[in-house]
């Protein structure tokens, strides 16, 4: 999975450059008509590849892909223990249920940390590499502090989704159920929230207590990205969002722990 995010980062950067560059060349050659707004938009998109934009663009790629990949990982990390029957084996050899859950949780957090670090480094590397190939200015270079802050926030937003996937995997004793439910919540909740707020901004008071809006509030920096999003102004306060995400983590883990403690473990988990 770590290798996958590295490859993906380079691939995304390269594909974006290749695609935008091809469009610009086609406009220059007259193969396709010049867009009404000119080529400024394409040029600006190409600028996202530059190292001084890694905090927004590069970390954003890692965050988006990472959420999906880590939901899958979290559900599998726990669910397979039931599928293989190894949870029962570990308990029979004296492991405690709480110890098992703590170990799984700690390892997931560590993995998420490693994932965001590796992914961010890959994004930085890809940015420099593709910018060099494309002849794009490095600008002021990577702002390490800004990238670190962005990566930390993104990494933090992984955690409640992973906790949710873990909890569902524990309740259902199935990695598949954890993956499916985790991904449905990740995609559907965000979509529903966006639609509702688009229809009526008053809905923001409700959906802002959800996962997706809280995660967006935490990771959405200022600048161009926020300005382009009509719902950005209704996002909750980032501090409140961080607390809400933390509370969700606790709730999901408590639910998982309660189920694990109360269940009789028979053949099949």
């Amino acid at each position: 999975m770590l290798g996958l995010i590295v490859v993906t980062a380079f691939l995304v950067y390269f594909l974006i450059w290749a695609s935008i560059n091809a469009q610009l060349q086609a406009v220059k050659n007259g193969t396709i008509p010049t867009p009404a707004e000119g080529t400024a938009g394409l040029t600006e998109t190409l600028r996202q590849i530059a190292p001084d934009r890694v905090a927004q663009f590069g970390v954003g790629i890692v965050s988006g892909l990472g959420s999906v990949m880590l939901i899958v990982f979290a559900a599998s990390h726990v669910g397979t223990e039931f599928g293989w029957g190894t949870f029962r084996t570990l308990l029979a050899h004296g492991a405690s249920r709480s110890g098992f859950l703590v170990a799984k949780t700690v390892s997931l957090v560590l993995y998420a940390f490693v994932f965001i670090v590796v992914g961010t480094l890959a994004a930085i590397g890809a940015s420099y590499a593709v910018s060099a190939v494309a002849g794009i200015s490095f600008g002021t270079g990577v702002d390490v502090a800004e990238v670190t802050r962005a990566a930390a926030k993104s990494g933090y937003t992984f955690l409640p989704y992973m906790a949710l996937a873990l909890a569902i995997a524990v309740w259902s004793k199935s990695a598949g159920a954890g993956i499916a439910a985790g991904l449905v919540v990740y995609f559907a909740e965000g979509l529903v929230a966006t639609i509702l707020v688009s229809l009526n901004k008053d809905y923001a008071q409700i959906v802002n207590w959800g996962l997706s809006r809280s995660a967006s509030a935490l990771t959405r920096g200022g600048g161009a990205a926020a300005a382009q999003d009509p719902t950005a102004s209704t996002l909750p306060d980032p501090t409140r969002a961080a607390i809400v995400l933390g509370v969700y983590c606790v709730i999901f883990l408590v639910l998982a722990y309660w189920r694990l403690r109360s269940r009789d473990v028979t053949v099949g988990g």
Partner: protein, 316 residues
């Protein structure tokens, strides 16, 4: 061959009192009292669904009892589970390890969990169970017999006082089954208590000092093998006039009489052979043979656990 019976005041390593487990309206285990002492092998027998695995699950703290207690080395499993299981090595009916790890690594993982020098026992146990050559192979490549051996090896990592084996000979060839029998006797010889749940009754006969037979969650028979099978001794009587012979035997207060193709099988104390012979002869009925028979454990098991039905004497 039956083991000689020895009764010594060994320490009780496992004791259950009034163990009950209900799953909704189904009572899987109903007031079970059992105990296992150091140095003895106790067989836990019962048909499918009798409650053997549920009992083992409660002893290991995998299943919460509805009522009753299970104590290992004097420690209540419900209250002090991890402490109690420190002295237990258990192999469950379905052997499960991590498929992507080697046999050695799987044992090492459990050994780390156990602590206390268990890691140093990994390779010796692999050798003892005949897995030294395949210790580095992934678990998913193991045959069923190899998986069973690895499971048995895992039970001994913590140097336990109580070993619980649920169907350990599943999937093993006759040579493997013999090795397991010898291993079980070795474990008892090492002053460990062994609780053996098995369907292989001839195996139980060869290794167990005591047996406990459960049916529908209740203990229906317990004791040494001799004690459990004694009540099932009978006489095979070869005689032509079965009806008249049955009437004569009922006059001796012998009520369990079964008709056979050659005569009658009658349940009676082995000492009554001469009495039966005299009664028949004095009535002018001469049997070709009056042979005392002892039921095997399988015979007793089948009789104890068969579904209940109205009894009838076919020779009436």
């Amino acid at each position: 061959m039956l083991r000689p019976v020895t009764v010594q005041p060994h320490e009780v390593v496992l004791r259950t009192k009034g163990l009950v487990k209900r799953f909704g309206s189904i009572t899987a285990v109903d007031g079970l009292d059992l105990n296992v002492r150091r140095g003895e092998v106790v067989g836990l027998l019962g048909p499918n669904g009798a409650g053997k695995s549920t009992t083992i699950g409660m002893v290991l703290g995998l299943i919460t009892p509805t009522a009753g207690t299970a104590e290992v080395l004097g420690r209540d499993v419900s209250a002090r589970r991890e402490e109690a299981l420190a002295g237990v090595g258990a192999m469950l009916e379905v052997t499960s390890f991590y498929p992507y790890l080697s046999g050695r690594d799987n044992l090492a993982a459990i050994a780390i969990l156990r602590g206390g020098g268990a890691l140093a026992r990994v390779d010796p146990l692999l050798a003892r169970l005949g897995l030294a050559q395949r210790g580095g192979s992934k678990f998913r490549t193991y045959s069923l017999g190899m998986r069973q051996r690895l499971g048995i090896a895992s039970t001994l990592l913590g140097d336990p006082a109580l070993v619980i084996l649920d169907e350990p000979a599943n999937g093993l060839d006759p040579a493997g089954q013999r090795e397991i029998r010898e291993l079980i006797r070795e474990l008892a010889g090492e002053d460990r208590g062994v609780l053996l749940a098995s369907h292989l009754l001839h195996e139980v006969e060869q290794v167990c000092d005591r047996v406990m037979v459960i049916k529908k969650g209740k203990l229906i028979a317990s004791g040494t093998l001799a004690e459990v099978t004694r009540g099932a001794s009978y006489f095979e009587i070869v005689v032509d006039d079965k009806r008249r012979a049955a009437e004569i035997l009922r006059g001796l207060d012998i009520t369990e009489i079964r008709e056979t193709p050659t005569g009658l099988d009658v349940v009676a104390d082995p000492k009554r052979g001469a009495e039966i012979n005299r009664a028949l002869a004095s009535s002018g009925l001469y049997a070709s043979a009056i042979v005392p028979r002892a039921s095997s454990l399988e015979d007793v098991f089948m009789e104890l656990t068969e579904p209940e039905s109205p009894s009838a004497s076919p020779a009436s």
